[in-house]
Symmetry: D3
């Protein structure tokens, strides 16, 4: 079977991760997975939402948006419509949960890390690219706090990345492009740790319900993709990976 761009069924699109993409954010990443491009900015704020105040613990949250012309036809700007779509809300909640799942909020202290994921070009998989890129921006923001001695150790318990799997024309495929995604019978997003533990799985067979056996195949493909994505993250982070490992080391003492 030939995919539209010649990839194998279990092959990711090319991944590029650029750190320090903009100059003000504590962490700023441009991630490209194929033609999907997302700016992931991590900002540190010295306060927490009202429901956490005075508990000595931090918070990590995310916001997601697409430029109106990130897609083939122009979308109405959500700020102009005056409200977020259900899709946007779902995605930013997903990114937030993914990031919080690997951060030790107690060690973060009473501060919030905002992860702003702004899609400048969309070709499928924007939510999973956002998670993969946001993790790198998050590490840079945490490293900033470590350098400023606002925290004592890296409050990160694992590396995390995300990818999608789907069935197009009866064939399970890894990392769908928009052309594949829009005709997929099944669409599954997987957020996983470096160690292969599932943080979040969301699979929809609205067009074509799938069996438990197929489910297992999806997870297999997804795990392969996530492990490769983690390699790209490590490469992009360079020396900072040590920091992460050390942080983890301290963590285990």
């Amino acid at each position: 079977m030939k995919r539209v761009d010649g990839r194998k069924v279990d092959e990711l699109r090319p991944v590029n991760i650029t750190r320090n993409f903009t100059k003000y954010a504590e962490g700023s990443v441009l991630i490209a997975t194929g033609d999907t491009k997302v700016i992931c900015n991590a900002s540190v704020e010295d306060s927490v939402p009202r429901f956490l105040r005075g508990q000595g613990q931090g918070w990590v949250t995310a916001e997601y948006s697409m430029l109106p012309r990130a897609t083939e036809s122009r979308n109405i700007r959500e700020a102009a419509r005056g409200k977020l779509s259900g899709r946007t809300t779902e995605i930013q909640r997903l990114i937030g949960r993914a990031m919080r799942s690997i951060v030790d909020l107690d060690k973060l202290g009473e501060r919030t890390i905002w992860l702003d994921c702004d899609v400048i070009q969309a070709d499928g998989g924007t939510r999973t690219a956002s998670i993969t890129g946001a993790f790198v921006a998050l590490i840079d923001a945490l490293a900033y706090l470590l350098e400023k001695e606002k925290i004592n150790e890296m409050p990160v318990e694992s590396m995390v990345a995300a990818t999608s799997v789907g069935i197009t024309d009866g064939e399970p495929l890894l990392d769908l492009r928009y052309q594949e995604d829009s005709t997929a019978q099944v669409d599954l997003n997987l957020v996983m740790t470096e160690e292969g533990k599932i943080i979040e799985v969301q699979g929809t067979g609205e067009e074509n319900p799938f069996s438990r056996k197929e489910m297992d195949r999806f997870l297999e493909l997804g795990e392969k993709g996530v492990k490769e994505l983690v390699k790209y993250q490590k490469e992009a982070l360079g020396d900072r990976v040590e920091l992460l490992l050390n942080g983890k080391g301290n963590n285990n003492d």
Copy 2:
């Protein structure tokens, strides 16, 4: 291991499904799963959303809400706040996808079926109870269309129900109550057909990532629950099940 209400790990709460709960809706169901109670009303509207007009196909959509005092402490009414929460939006999109997944929209004709799920008492699992109850209301609304000769056959491809699975204190449990759910390390919602095909699976291990093997155990528990729920649906539908089977028969010609 003893559950808070004495159930076994793979045991559903008692299920009660009352049809014709209110008098105007074409389908009106009160579903109770333990202390969780949801009114599921199905309404037929003779038009479709703008994006479907003139295509000769129908639409099925859902809305979800909780009475302010469905829960232990009172929640602010979403109509008073002037916007839906992210949680509400996610849930009503989930219910809508679940219902559309088993309806043949072409056979429905240019009309919309609204499924209004209003939770009057919440003790965990309101979204899965909504799906299980909404399916019954949907069948009644479709039977109404059949009787009125607006459609020629039952445009339903399968029965569908939903339940939740979670890990509390390290133990995978079926059909969590609120007390179990609020301390769960993993929370997974499963929408499945009578035949055991997955329509939607959403699992979150924000607190505690889980392995692919655990995932399989969750699906096993969930499948057991869904199959029992389908039995309750059939019992509630009585003769109407025949209608459903005949519809399916025609469907296969």
Copy 3:
């Protein structure tokens, strides 16, 4: 003259009041007047609105809503439209004033009682049924405070109920059903105490202005209806009526 359901001109529809309808609210009532059914939940909150803070006095307020399919054709959900209709606002302000009129807010202490009136089936007279049912839920919530020794006496000065009167085909009628109401030339809502004192009267003769003499006939019919409704309330409250009388006794010392 024959009414559509065979009632006499001064006859109420059958009234049913079910207490403890849901399990979390301090007071929870399902009231049915004919086919009109309203859930009235009373919730106690340990704070008051900003404009009352620090004055040692309490507050009683109400919210009103209809399920989308409470009526013959489905209404758009106010939470989905993002704002309350003028009709909803008027009704919830009316219920709130009615409840405050018979509560001694000083004796209530710095707490708020919310009365949520959610119509699950509407056949005319939903606002007056809400008032009649909300009063019972209010008493249960106040009894809860008394039992918990948060208040020392029942801060209620009188029983209150409400009904509607109208002219259909030239004939003044008590307690209009929707079919009568929708063709009424005059529509008057009356909120009254057990003793026959008027708390609120709202009469509209938009279609057909009426004389002062007719006004008097409306009040006569309405008073008869309210006094019967109070009997239903007492019956539903059972022993709790004693509590109410004792409260009133203390009140007069």
Copy 4:
């Protein structure tokens, strides 16, 4: 008993009605009742709301607003808050009903008359002053349509005005000023035709329920006030009253 401004209990404040107050509106009135001043503009629009289209009948509707500093302390502008208060909604619905009650909408043809009541100074009774002033602006707008030969006769069935009655310090008083109104135990607004027929009555005894006998006294006082207000309207309308009477004459043929 001495009122704060020396009036008798059944005495209106001085009334001034200025026609043609602004230059663009088809009817433009400044009404002053004591220190309460309202601009009432009537605008003709050549279409009707969606729910009336194609039925050959017209519509009359009203909007009400107060300048932020119409009152002793500044109020937040509703346009700035982004929504109308419940009070504003209630008042503009009341004005609209009052105007529609005396217009024959079939004779108006498919057009809408907007009555914009903008309070520039408020000293009690702004809603009743709005109704009394809006009626005069409405007549001017209808006369404009008659002159332009868009309608053949005056589609007005009666003159209408409104006033308030209340109990302050135990004494029923006509036409309350703010100082009286804010301490009133009872507050009743009465919209009445020239012939003494009630179009709308809204009485609230939230602070102090009242008897049916007191109700009758309120209506007596209110009727006296309305009849005097109609005289002021006639005086302001001058020759146009003939038009009104002729219109009524035709109406009766």
Copy 5:
């Protein structure tokens, strides 16, 4: 060249400034420039916006609105639409900047002066009339604070007024009426001090870009207009001008 109302190219429309137009506001002015009429109310509030709290300095801000029928055809009320138009926002920001430019906010103390500009009739130049009128209302509000000894000196550094200039049929004209303005190729608003210093200039040649030389002619015309407007302001203020001069005197010590 003949202007539509016979004015010379550099001639203002007749100006009328009425002080104490309404009774509650600390400063209340009705300004008429030709048929454009604006109520400018100045209100003193004993607090400042959040971003200024605790800094010992005051704030001056403005809001602007038009009655729906201030114009030839009726506009939808912004409170009904639920949001301010871009035009309204721009204008009220402009008025606010103009007023702040001549007030010493440190000398004002921690209080806010609100300038509400409500256009009751619009014939071009409503924003510049609002500024010219608001200045007079501001002085009255500041004089009130001086009399109440809440401030020690007049915190005003200069007089300020505003007018418009435009090119119609190739001819630069001062103070455009709506008929001229709507066909103008260039439209320039000028806010200037009595001394001829520019506070704000906004010129648009969307239809017809203009040269730097023309720009200079516009400023010449505008300066002439502003200086005449300041005379009208002084005349209206009467004795209060002394206060202003004394304030300035102290200011220079």
Copy 6:
């Protein structure tokens, strides 16, 4: 006098214009003026706003936004707040007017060109950079229409660019960075054609009113800046400039 970055008083920051920045938009430009970076996407839509329908003419409009972390501290996303700030509204109206001023809307035909200006990094002058970049994106979108033979000639009457001028420490400076801008006593934005004609001038001396002579100096500086910016635009457009000139040639016949 030494500027913070060593520039001369009349020197622009380095300018970089990248075309085809994203792949879907008909025109897509990344403009950098120093550290200010804006994505300017031009989208063609085959319809016009309601107020222009059926008139055979086109429309050009703009939207403007900043990524939350485009600035030193994070701003709340306007989509999250549910409304546009006054600043955003003003800027996008300004960009829209600037673009329309040089497009012949009749020759564009019944279609809309949207110019989306999204600031990814802000260091002063974002609105003027948006205009300068949007012009280039606009030309690419128009060239696309020309190639597709949807229009016959380039409907552009002139080149347009924009820059800012201000007074910092008493010295008039061209093209302010944020550090200069935030302490400027005067701030003036200038939109000008290649030929030196003013399309829009907005100058504010809220902190320090300025004289007509200073105004002239600002325009001189600004004109120098705009002419240099037009050179950068031409360089970026390359061959497309010919198209523009030819279009203009036809225009003059």
